[in-house]
Symmetry: C2
Subunit: 505 residues, 2 copies
Amino acid sequence: MSAINTILKELLEASHLQGVEALLGWDQETYMPEGAGAARSEQISYITGLMHAKLVGEPLTTALEELINLDTGELRIMTLNDRETRQVKEIWRDYRQEAALPAKFVTDLAKHASVSQQAWVRARKDNDFKFFEPFLEKMVQMQKEKAGYLAKGETAYDALLDQFEPEMTSAKVAQLFKELRTRLVPLVQEVQDVKHRVNGSILTKNYDIDKQWDFGMSLLKSIGFDLKKGRQDRSAHPFTTSTHPSDVRTTTRLRENDLKSALLSTLHEGGHALYEQGLPIEEYGNPLGQSISLGIHESQSRMWENLVGLSPSFWRFAYPKLQMKFPDQLRNTDQKQFYSAINRVRPSMIRVEADEATYNLHIMLRFEIEKMLINDDFPVADLPQLWKDKMEEYVGVRPKNDSEGVLQDVHWSFGAFGYFPTYTLGNLYSVQFFNHYKEQVAGSEELFARGDFSALLKWLRENIHSKGRGRKAEELLLEITGQALSAEPFMDYLEEKYRLIYGLS
Amino acid sequence: MSAINTILKELLEASHLQGVEALLGWDQETYMPEGAGAARSEQISYITGLMHAKLVGEPLTTALEELINLDTGELRIMTLNDRETRQVKEIWRDYRQEAALPAKFVTDLAKHASVSQQAWVRARKDNDFKFFEPFLEKMVQMQKEKAGYLAKGETAYDALLDQFEPEMTSAKVAQLFKELRTRLVPLVQEVQDVKHRVNGSILTKNYDIDKQWDFGMSLLKSIGFDLKKGRQDRSAHPFTTSTHPSDVRTTTRLRENDLKSALLSTLHEGGHALYEQGLPIEEYGNPLGQSISLGIHESQSRMWENLVGLSPSFWRFAYPKLQMKFPDQLRNTDQKQFYSAINRVRPSMIRVEADEATYNLHIMLRFEIEKMLINDDFPVADLPQLWKDKMEEYVGVRPKNDSEGVLQDVHWSFGAFGYFPTYTLGNLYSVQFFNHYKEQVAGSEELFARGDFSALLKWLRENIHSKGRGRKAEELLLEITGQALSAEPFMDYLEEKYRLIYGLS
């Protein structure tokens, strides 16, 4: 069957380019000298152009056309087995998406994304939205243009969302957010009424950066991150990337007066990395070797960060070690107090440092604003004001400046509109998966308390990681748990958790 | 003139790929997880293939043919100015070299170079030549094949040498080495007879790695390395690479009981880096924006390492700082003693740690062995024995094992046959350039003694770096100094230096 071989050869070459692009991006955020930004943008743009040319090129197009009707997605060959069918369907989905975009648009966007990301770094540092505004303005225009090319879903925003979470719609996200909000807002309010019951000041003492790093590395090893096939570095904004399944890289950021941030971001990125390291290597270079969606990716990162890393049993294992690392700071704090402190609910400015409850309020705000920008032509110049007002309305706090306001996240700078909802979807998926895992594997808490996370990792490897792509996110959820996606299990989890921590009725 | 624009566009794209390949290589030697080696070899090979396809592709070939006869190098256009003529001639030279190689050979060689380099790392660590032997055997075969394609010069070895040092021949190298040897061997002997006069033990005390790193970084800043457009990292084997003139990277290696090695290798790589950072940015992407030859490159690294870094005036500046960094170790050693110690001549096993005199004996040995391998089919399996015998004959010491013998250098593993002579050529060039600089710029020693190296850097920028490529190495030498390449100035320098240090008559 030579058509599929041709396709796989072309896709493998595109994967080489993707790996190279990942390294260029990783390096830009970690070690690249500051003066090299312009050259790097050119390099990334050029590689992206080569990748696009490969993915919509004549060899792949002709071969794919032999197997499937490029317009309708109807298979022309009836002898494919189940795996092959899924493979060809996913290749076709990617092809349609890529072929919808003009080559020049692809390279222009890649270049602008790199340039604009560098502009954002500077704007955030200098608290200067005006400097960033033209870059963002151009990016929003390009995203609208992209949505026009993709032309999928009811609204422009749906087309963008679909890139990150295939088959998800903004109507469905809005419905889930509505369910979530109904229970979340009263819960946050209830906790706020008794907020004095938890004191978080222990987390903002002075904690040596190098010791934080060492502790984070030991956690990555504990949860099963394979350091022969990956590494951790520092960057201004934590992320995970993969140049190949044998080379998965996370980053973290460390601050002396913040113990929680690096610790949880290390586990978060570690969760992403475990997924990437667990993808089926035998499928490398075709869609079946990739992750399902960003929602599922976030279900992995948020699971390790929150359902593991903010659980009592995790701290039974980790707290004595942390105390040994920081004896002076933690001497007078017992495990229960520490557990409460690190789980404290407090409306705050920065999403990535939010607790599990208010986190989702940040996402709802992003979701609303993104729709206004993409669907309703909301003016970019008015964003700072809108951000402050919405923060007050949704989260209950008002940013003092734009660096802790509209400039706080990197995503918009590189064009990730439609990405934010996947964070909350990840939270919902993670609880549904984790509940099912706990039903299937007895004694999970005891294992965690001994620092043994291998049963969970094994379960995730078998049920999620090794499956790669080839099913939709909700199909995977149904397959594993028998349930549809819902906000209720997540809210049940949160209410129970905070009931215990805050002594709610 | 659309032909030249087409060519420059294609070459610029090839330069993007070259920059990307440099980053892949840099990362392989610095931060890449060990399990990613196989994937990295594939990526490098793929990018090399794209670069080759670009450099011999139809657009470039057709356009170049408009300007120049591809077989004879005769210009077809008579209206080119001097700069354009040089540019087209250099483009043609590169084109001929690239077009002589079959595409499959290029990608196979790139892959084998990456694989074989990784094998060498392991073999050297384990002192296991047998493990490395099949990789080297294959590499030697591929180099012979390459020489056959290039078919330039009298012997196969000449074709390989010409890649690194255009227009240089092994006959000419042999003649230079003969001149050198005539004065060098007696000098080394004379020094050996009074070797007790210099004690080098101060250099092998215990020196904290981090402090060595800090001191090296301060030296890089002192000599003018622009850290906004470059960086230094650690690797098993020091090297310099450039992803773009705005991103030039050096590495160093540090050992606790060796003060000299990291210090001098930092200056050595710094010299390479200054050249790369000083290349004419307006010519980026075409040959005029590149370095002239490896001999000229080595003239820059060896100048900063030896003529600056091993000079009395340099240590008038640097030694008080070094003493402050390592007060316990250096308290009882004065500047003059230290200067003698770091300049001690002692026949030793490892080229990169050799003094200025015996260094060239190592190169002569490599040159002889390389010619035997490439021209005379000397069997790879017999190399360890040959190496030991030749070391005894040339340098006067016999390696105890292969790690400090035939496995000591990385070059052969990635196929750099014909490269070694450029180290000695660099030594010769460096002294001729430096003598001329000192004639032109008065008070150089006083400036060095104050830590001011800007006059030297300015001179190098104007006379060498900013000229890029477009003339041969010896043309540049003649242009600057009015002299032909010769071993005599280098030997004059060495004899004078050791006369003072060792009190020779």
